[in-house]
Subunit: 705 residues, 2 copies
């Protein structure tokens, strides 16, 4: 993936020295009055210049007819004039040397008509001049540290924001405004906030890229409706990962109804949702399924808590019931609730006879009577239990400051000895106690299942980040054939795939019965016979495959049957005879494919065969190309993987060979992305461990030139 | 199911006129001091009598050496004396005519030793005298309306409780205390609260029964670790359903680690978790998976909102993004996000040109500019959209009292015309606005996905309650055979099932080759041959089944093969020859079974065959017997149902015949519960619609006498 051409930095937007407000109004409830009112009352630390030819003074500040009349330099313009006047205002800005603009006005592409042209004008001006434009039809932006409220969302009224390490980008203004209210309500620390609206210039990827470079940002929260530019999004996400920023995203439109709602809202083309899932996993992006989860994860990730090195999870509780509940949820989240070693369990019992020593470790309400128990239990769990992360449920302990402070002192002492372990506490806490915990780097949740889910998010983030860092794809084999330029039969398709490094079944095309018998002798019985025709994509649907032919008589009969079926069931297909193939050994049938996603280009799909894919849509996607780590992750993702592990006494399948085949296909798909519409390998049989895989059937659809 | 013997009412426990505190202490932080302190400061409206032979006065009240010395009547005793003295105190209580006791003391069955005997003594006294005893080893009970704090949980300090329509029973004291803190924090209205501890007398079912009879209770919240008495639990849940109480339960121990944690905590035998799932569904009990969800559902169900009549769900939003998110979650919850009719969509567009009119209906931020839009949109959704429930996302609107009041007036006006529809609003609201909404009977959530999940809970509650009300099981067929008293071969097992109303495959036992050939001729080719032996439970595992035998030669060969396999692979099994069976038509293989659950007795299991059951544990349980509605619900519950609907061009299967077969099995299992250890029908083939089902193989294990 080559780097996209660099665009000018967004720094002038977020770090302006001086701000002009175009269309500034004396009425602080108007769209042109509110940002000025907000900026004045929040205490932004630079000069503010109302731009309005009709008044000499606005909201107590001297006003100017255009930005060019402003005496000093201006970095950022907030534009709230009616749509027809926006382009003119921006041209003034360029002339003045303004480097960033936020266009709050609506009436552009979202309403159609002239608006489409006006918006195209903004885009062209931005590209030509280097002016960075947020919007139009957006809610603006915020820099909390600078007390910069470049927005008209009522959610920003009264400021009420705490500086912190979370930065947020939302494609939707309404969603962004709601999130801002939530952030205030929860008291989360915020750094930068921006809504991108119609994305005439600055888009979601630009903002992620900016946040990824921003020292003040540790967590990037994104609300994505539809990605537009594959390469720039990938680059931005890769940069975020490289710089250790934790990205958590909400992307709506998973369901059919949801997808329609999103599409009608953005009028932009959304890729398949399962593809987004794959992209997020590929780039170590956590995907939230609710707004609570979005900010739970953002909160945990914004605290100075280490990223867990593995899934080993210790649960500590003062209530056996809540311990069991946390264990249930940890199991749902694929955490490893491994038991304490036997001798450590004995030690715990010696400390506290009525405790549950296994995992969850139940300290019972005794904790309140003897606080030193906590330190000793906790230390034993970290040392002997070797847990990567501990979630501790302390009930209402956090409502008493004195008790909490003592607990916290013990916790800090132990953590100094285990600085690489993450600790998340669940307790009902007063605001005072909450601050105490957070200052000490301990993440605190009211509700225990939310604490477990946040822990799981950190664990999965760590895994994806580590897998992502090792994901260089292998090189294309030297002798790889180009994709066919026209429809070809399955034998030719498999020859192409074999050249790309994917093992295929041994087979011959036989033009007549005699040739079929010859081929069967050479391959060895039993064999499979299939109709050979580039015009029949799904042979089995017309009964075009007959398996398990044991001798010459059965081959003769099958040959006649297939010819008859082809004539009656696909009368217009051009026949090339039959394919005679060796019978593959018994294995697990899987499906491997390549498709063109409208946003992400060549994507690779994997699923375990048959009903799982068709009835449950149980498939995993990744963007091509990728390394074998991603292929392994794809296998681990699908529910059908249980079949590969071997059920009903079947041997375990060769997952490693499968991962290699998926990887090889991704490399081939990426190398020839422009020439391939789709590839289907169905089935790819995964043989028992050590015996590899075999593509039994394949279809390559070249891209219409 | 016959009614359990009636136990004396719990009313004296929850509605005492006067209370004695045994072991009352002058130190209000001690277990014997705290309840007295709480009762005094909360303002309980009856006389309080400290019982303590060592002081004449305790906490400013005259103290008595025993309860018999108290001048007036006493209904409730709170007992906090050390464990060895508890039984004596309770005997005093009985002598005095006290009718209820709460034993807070610990040191009983949970610690073993003498404690086990002491607890047995309490149980015996309770049964003998009619005294109702809560505990020992519990956190006590609360009646909010009476300001009765019969507890020592620190969560009750300062009272801080609002009277309401939720009553809670928790087997765990720590969990109960935590919930109490949460209830206070969320400001939920509470009626009764009780923790049952060791359940020497009063158990979970008793409390559900009491709440089910209590006029002040609309919602029963339960925390269940393990059920003990099947019949009393069923009776209590049935009564709750009958009386229109909404029951929401948390039962932990879904995961292996969770189950171990729960077992070590309660030291009582827990039934399989999937069985609990079935029981809850059967009795219309909602099961929560997190504490947030437990109280979200309890809150929604406690409001005067009608139970939705169906799954048709309208989503109204001021943010397209949040609308899409709600649609995603509604889809996850199996709600029906049906689109608005075309003409209604046109009307919406006429009212508000830039709205999204489909469903979600996106009113955009225009709502704030023209409030009358809300009423008109809302009415159109109820009238033309015919939604059973509407979830409306109003963002931060709830933070402005004036705006909210106006919205609420409109909402109330419309709802008067549609009193059977449920409305749930999601908005960030000030406490003042929240109260406004709740007073008007509108349920309010901060977070939109929680609003959708609560709506789904109400919808599913309604469905289960309606299905539950119609669930009388059919009668056992007159000619039904009794279960075999010893192990029998599959042919005899199927004969029993056939007599119970379950269609079985036509087949014969053949003792030798000649008989096998005769049977095949009579049944008609093709046939199946299977080893006949009562000693081989899983024939296919030793290759004991050969299908698709087309002629005499093949039957001869198969006969010889089976005899050889039986000799070598199951040398100790007694052979009865072979079973010759007709080849069943093509259908979907399912599994039907009966098992004895340690708590719930005879339970019926259903799953779609093969991999779904073995790899995914994709099965549904119900307690036998039940009506066909429950059987239909079981089919709807399993993921494998997609196979029954017909995939890959297969015809839809005869689900109705399947439901009848499941029902018939449940009736038979219940009628002979004491004689059956287990029944397996595997496979039960479901033929295409109208052609019924066929049991191909069956195993009945009689209960060891």
């Amino acid at each position: 993936m080559s780097a996209a051409p660099t665009r000018p930095s967004l720094t002038p937007l977020f770090e302006p020295r001086a701000i002009a407000v175009y269309g500034a109004s004396s009425d602080p409830t108007k769209i042109g009055g509110r940002p000025l009112d907000f900026l004045k009352s929040s205490g932004f630390d630079g000069p503010l210049y109302p731009i309005n030819p009709k008044s000499a003074q606005i909201q107590g500040l001297p006003s100017f007819p255009t930005v060019s009349a402003v005496p000093g330099p201006v970095d950022l313009a907030i534009v709230a004039v009616p749509a027809p006047g926006v382009l003119g205002a921006l041209e003034d800005c360029v002339a003045k040397g303004v480097r960033g603009a936020v266009v709050l006005s609506s009436g552009f592409a979202e309403v159609g008509g002239d608006g489409v042209q006006w918006q195209a004008g903004i885009t062209a001006l931005a590209r030509r001049s280097g002016l960075r434009v947020v919007g139009p039809n957006c809610m603006g932006l915020i820099n909390v540290r600078r007390r910069l409220l470049g927005t008209f969302t009522p959610s920003a009224a009264g400021f009420g924001l705490v500086p912190g390490r979370i930065s947020l980008v939302s494609q939707s203004g309404a969603f962004g405004g709601y999130c801002l209210s939530l952030i205030r309500q929860r008291g989360l620390g915020l750094n930068l906030w921006v809504t991108t609206g119609n994305q005439s210039d600055v888009d979601f990827a630009d903002c992620v890229d900016h946040f990824a470079r921003d020292d003040g940002t540790q967590v990037i929260v994104g609300y994505l409706e539809a990605a537009t530019d594959r390469q720039r999004l990938f680059d931005a996400l890769a940069l975020a990962r490289e710089n250790g920023k934790r990205v958590v995203v909400m992307k709506v439109g998973r369901s059919e109804a949801g997808a329609q709602a999103a599409a009608s809202h953005t009028a932009s083309l959304a890729g398949s949702d399962a593809v987004y899932d794959g992209v997020f996993r590929q780039f170590g992006v956590l995907r939230a399924r609710s707004i609570d989860e979005l900010f739970d994860v953002a909160y945990a990730a914004s605290q100075p808590v280490p990223v867990p090195q593995g899934r080993r999870t210790g649960l500590l509780t003062v209530s056996g019931g809540v311990g069991a509940l946390m264990a249930d949820v940890a199991d749902d989240c694929a955490l490893d609730v491994a038991p304490m070693p036997e001798d450590a369990q004995r030690k715990l019992k010696a400390i506290l006879p009525f405790c549950g020593p296994r995992n969850p470790v139940d300290m019972t309400a005794q904790l309140v009577n003897d606080l030193s128990l906590f330190e000793r239990n906790f230390e034993l769990m970290l040392e002997a239990g070797r847990y990567d992360v501990i979630v501790a449920f302390l009930s209402s302990v956090g409502q008493v400051v004195e008790l909490s402070s003592k607990l916290l002192e013990q916790l800090k002492k132990v953590l100094q000895r285990f600085p690489d372990r993450a600790v998340i506490v669940s307790a009902l806490a007063s605001p005072e106690v909450r601050k105490l915990f957070e200052t000490a780097g301990v993440v605190l949740f009211d509700e225990p299942t939310r604490a477990v889910r946040a822990a799981a998010a950190l664990v999965h983030y760590g895994e994806q980040a580590r897998a992502g860092a090792r994901q260089s794809p292998p090189t294309l084999p030297a002798g790889a054939l180009p994709p066919p330029a026209r429809a070809v039969n399955e034998v030719e398709a498999k020859a192409v795939l074999a050249s790309a490094g994917i093992a295929v079944v041994r087979e011959r095309v036989a033009a007549d019965e005699a040739a079929a018998l010859r081929a069967a002798r050479e391959l060895g019985y039993p064999v499979v016979l299939k109709i050979a025709s580039a015009d029949i994509a799904h042979k089995s649907e017309i009964g075009g495959v007959i398996v398990g032919l044991a001798d010459e008589a059965q081959v003769r009969e099958a040959y006649a049957t297939l010819m008859e079926r082809a004539r009656t069931r696909a009368p217009r297909a051009r026949l090339e005879g039959v394919v005679v193939a060796q019978m593959a050994g018994k294995g697990v049938e899987t499906i491997l494919g390549v498709a063109r996603d409208p946003v992400f280009g060549a994507v690779v799909m994997f699923g375990v065969g048959g009903i799982f894919v068709e009835a449950f849509k149980d498939v995993a996607f990744r963007v091509a190309p990728f390394g074998v780590e991603q292929a392994r992750a794809m296998i681990a993702e699908v529910k059908g993987r249980v079949l590969l592990a071997g059920v009903r006494g079947q041997p375990a399948a060769d997952e490693e060979a499968l991962a290699q085949a998926i990887t090889a296909l991704s490399v081939y798909a990426a190398a020839h992305a422009e020439a391939i519409e789709s590839i289907d390998i169905n089935p790819l049989v995964v043989l028992p461990k050590g015996r590899g895989v075999l593509a039994l059937d394949a279809l390559i659809v070249p891209r219409a030139g």
